[in-house]
């Protein structure tokens, strides 16, 4: 008993102050949104596009700020935030942004050129009144690799403690207000996912976490998968990444519940 108490003292208080305080420090090599410095990209050689494993980079036609050069459009829902495009660029024009805030409410908002994605807005007022102070989620892994699952689950540990915001992962869909889905939706999980969704009482929401759940990720196009959660159920929040950093997931959840109004000022 004494040892337990001493250990408790030694371990101290570990929960992050965020969102009231600054977010936990991200690693300096953190990879956020892909950015292309077009000043250094003179010939549009498109080697980044060819290197991309998921066809997340596409040529965007049109004129940009007066220049008529072709630019790249990036689909953050497909992007694995890997190193392949940056490594392929012979001019060092491709880098990763450090911003962890990547979550959107609409799938198409994840497709961007230079600008950050349009931030997720809170749920509609009536829904917010019901779910805003107590959100219980059932997690369903439908072909996920256990990385998105792990970094969602970590939000329940003392370091992040989403219980502070009335959020919790629950054991049964019948106790849940929504699903948090990971994985590309393997064909073998499709029926189970549908049934789990049906078992959640209305009103209910769906959150897609990770490139797989948004677009199929590296498995997009495989006959064995269905290219993401939206192929089966309506999705209310898209959290990109492979896997997304826990901070990205938390930011998304807080935005959805309207608890992140002032975060952008921190």
């Amino acid at each position: 008993m004494i040892k337990i108490l001493l250990s408790r003292l030694q371990q101290g208080h570990r929960t992050t102050k965020y969102p009231a305080g600054p977010p936990p420090e991200l690693p300096d090599r953190f990879r956020g949104r892909v950015k292309i410095d077009f000043a250094r990209c003179p010939m549009a050689c498109r080697q980044c596009q060819q290197a991309c494993p998921t066809a997340a980079l596409q040529k965007a036609e049109g004129s940009f700020g007066g220049s008529s050069a072709a630019r790249m459009r990036i689909d953050l829902g497909k992007c694995l935030f890997c190193t392949d495009c940056a490594a392929a660029c012979p001019h060092g024009a491709v880098t990763h942004d450090k911003d962890y805030r990547l979550t959107t409410r609409k799938r198409e908002d994840l497709i961007v050129c230079d600008e950050p994605p349009r931030p997720a807005c809170p749920l509609d007022k009536p829904l917010l009144r019901i779910l805003g102070r107590s959100l219980r989620l059932r997690q369903v892994s439908a072909g996920g690799c256990n990385a998105c699952e792990a970094d969602s689950n970590v939000l329940g540990t003392i370091g992040w403690d989403i219980g502070r915001f009335g959020m919790q992962f629950v054991a049964s869909p019948r106790h849940a207000d929504g699903l948090l889905i990971t994985g590309p939706v393997s064909d073998n999980m499709k029926l189970a996912l549908e049934k789990t969704w049906q078992a959640v009482p209305a009103p209910k929401i769906v959150i897609a976490v990770g490139a797989c759940a948004i677009s199929g990720g590296p498995y997009a196009g495989h006959a064995e998968v269905h290219d993401g959660a939206a192929s089966v159920v309506p999705v209310d929040l898209f959290i990109p990444g492979c896997p997304p950093h826990p901070l990205t997931i938390l930011d998304g959840l807080l935005k959805l519940l309207g608890m992140a109004r002032r975060i952008s000022e921190i």
């Binding site: 371990q11 300096d28 189970a192 498995y219 495989h222 492979c242």
Partner: protein, 503 residues
């Protein structure tokens, strides 16, 4: 030696040097080798001439650090190896499911992952044969007061899906059948014809908690096939990343085991410390799971001295915090009472069914790729093998604790003596008509990848054997005559991968 090809871990040979035996000789060879102490590390099929199937077996001889390989051509059916060599049971089921050949006399021929056949049987449309997930003839115990409990695919925790069928007499589990396949994404099929831009990403997401382990196995395999050299500094950094992965997962498991017996201090501390270790991996490469770290030819990220210093500083804190929270487990009698004697697997059984990794070492078996078939940095720097012999939840927990300490010491030592070198050699493409096996001791145990290239150097076959493939059956055995309420505890003490199994 008995007509089998001898090779070593991460060594490529000519594909046609793998001997093609008759089915009888092949059975004999595999059964004899396993009786002589070898382990069946992989067995897989690929199409052969005339709609037949070329089956290849890879055997590991741990004491002398060699591997053996042999093949045979199967047409329709053959006499199953499993009755004489139980280690083959899951592999034979897999081959039967994928290729439609029939191992006659197999005692338990059911689907492994309910995947569509890799090639349609003659005269049948492909879709007609597609099995329906979870629909199979589950073993049933009949009798007064016998009841059946079905769990999954969607579980109560934040974990992956799988189906468990318990046959119970009161609280007591007479039999557990584990039915998987829900996570099947077609990885092996998609590897064929590669390497492509996606290949590395398939490997990194094959089992996301084993990103470094599988990526290392893959890169080692490609490097063997192409005969390319990896800079010493990159070998060390791969080892550092692999051990950090081991520590993160083992620490997480100790916490989860504590949680399953209701001991909250270690649950909370270890949950947090696991995250701290993942953050160290993120210091290496920007991603908590090590995405982008291991790449063919070396590693994607180098270290500078400031980073090394910071890592060492944080490692020391982690070592201290982990020791305090892990030792609470061993010092608390109520925890020990729940760990000891729960889910025991005997050494004999473990040997028969071919357990690997900490689960095998907890039964007193000396099985460790790093020690017996070392590759990369492990050829020069040894981590002592950690073992225990009681085969129960306690042993599986305690082996993890021993490994955590040794891995942390290894990481600090390696970081202090990083060789000066580049971290990436320009990779060359695989040579044609080659065969190679690559093994890595991941945190769950032996990861085995086997590849064969066609005459243009493209992957003609790619086989992955995640440690979970060997160990799921061990969990089923561990549950015999246990109270069903101990299932979460036993399950966590194995902590196997669903996606790594389902591919």
């Amino acid at each position: 030696m008995n007509g089998l090809l001898q090779l070593r871990n991460a060594q490529a040979v000519r594909a046609d040097s793998v001997p093609r035996l008759s089915v009888e000789e092949f059975r004999e060879a595999v059964i004899c080798a396993v009786e002589g102490g070898a382990r069946l590390s992989a067995m897989f099929g690929r199409p052969a001439e005339g709609n037949r199937l070329l089956v290849t077996a890879v055997l590991a001889n741990d004491p002398d650090g060699t591997l053996q390989a042999c093949s045979t051509v199967v047409d329709g059916g053959y006499d199953s190896i499993t009755p004489d060599c139980p280690q083959a049971h899951w592999f034979e089921r897999e081959i039967a499911e994928q290729w439609g050949v029939r191992p006659q006399g197999h005692p338990w021929l059911k689907p492994v992952r309910f995947q569509p056949p890799c090639r349609p049987a003659a005269g049948q449309p492909p879709a007609a044969e597609r099995p329906v997930i979870g629909v199979t003839d589950f073993f049933r115990v009949e009798g007064h007061e016998i009841h059946e409990v079905a769990v999954g695919p969607v579980h109560a925790g934040v974990i992956e899906p799988g189906h468990f069928r318990f046959q119970c007499f009161g609280e007591n589990v007479l039999h557990l059948e584990i039915s998987l396949g829900y996570q099947h994404r077609g990885v092996e099929r998609a590897m064929i014809g590669g390497p492509t831009a996606r290949s590395s990403h398939y490997m990194e997401t094959l089992a996301g908690d084993t990103t470094i382990g599988h990526a290392t196995a893959y890169c080692q395999l490609l490097e063997a096939l192409s005969g390319s050299h990896v800079p010493a500094r990159a070998e060390v950094l791969r080892g550092v990343a692999l051990e950090l992965e081991r520590v993160a997962n083992h620490v997480g498991d100790l916490g989860a085991l504590a949680g399953d017996v209701g001991f909250l201090p270690t649950l909370s501390y270890c949950g947090r410390i696991r995250g701290d270790v993942l953050n160290l991996t993120a210091m290496l490469c920007g991603n908590r799971f090590g995405r982008g770290m291991v790449r063919p030819g070396g590693v994607g990220f180098d270290m500078d001295s400031a980073r090394v210093e910071e890592l060492l500083k944080r490692l020391a804190v982690i070592a201290k915090d982990t020791a305090i929270s892990a030792n609470l487990l061993w010092d608390t009698p109520s925890v020990q009472a729940r760990f000891e004697g729960a889910g025991t697997v005997s050494r004999e059984l473990a040997e028969q069914i071919g357990l690997v990794g900490p689960a095998a070492r907890a039964c007193g078996l000396e099985r460790d790729i790093q020690n017996h078939h070392p590759s990369g940095i492990y050829r020069f720097a040894h981590i002592p093998l950690s073992g225990w012999d009681s085969g129960d939840v306690f042993a599986r927990a305690y082996v993890r604790w021993l490994e955590i300490q040794r891995s942390l010491a290894f990481v600090s030592e390696q970081l202090r003596s990083l060789p000066e070198d580049v971290v990436m050699a320009s990779p060359s493409s695989p040579a044609g008509n080659r065969f190679a096996v690559s093994m890595v001791e991941g945190w769950r145990g032996e990861i085995c990848h086997v590849a064969v290239t066609d005459d243009r150097g493209r992957l003609a076959a790619y086989k992955v054997a995640d440690p979970s493939f060997h160990n799921w059956f061990g969990l089923a055995c561990a549950l015999r005559n246990q109270p069903i309420s101990d299932f979460p505890l036993c399950n966590k003490s194995f902590n196997l991968s669903y996606c790594g199994h389902d591919l």
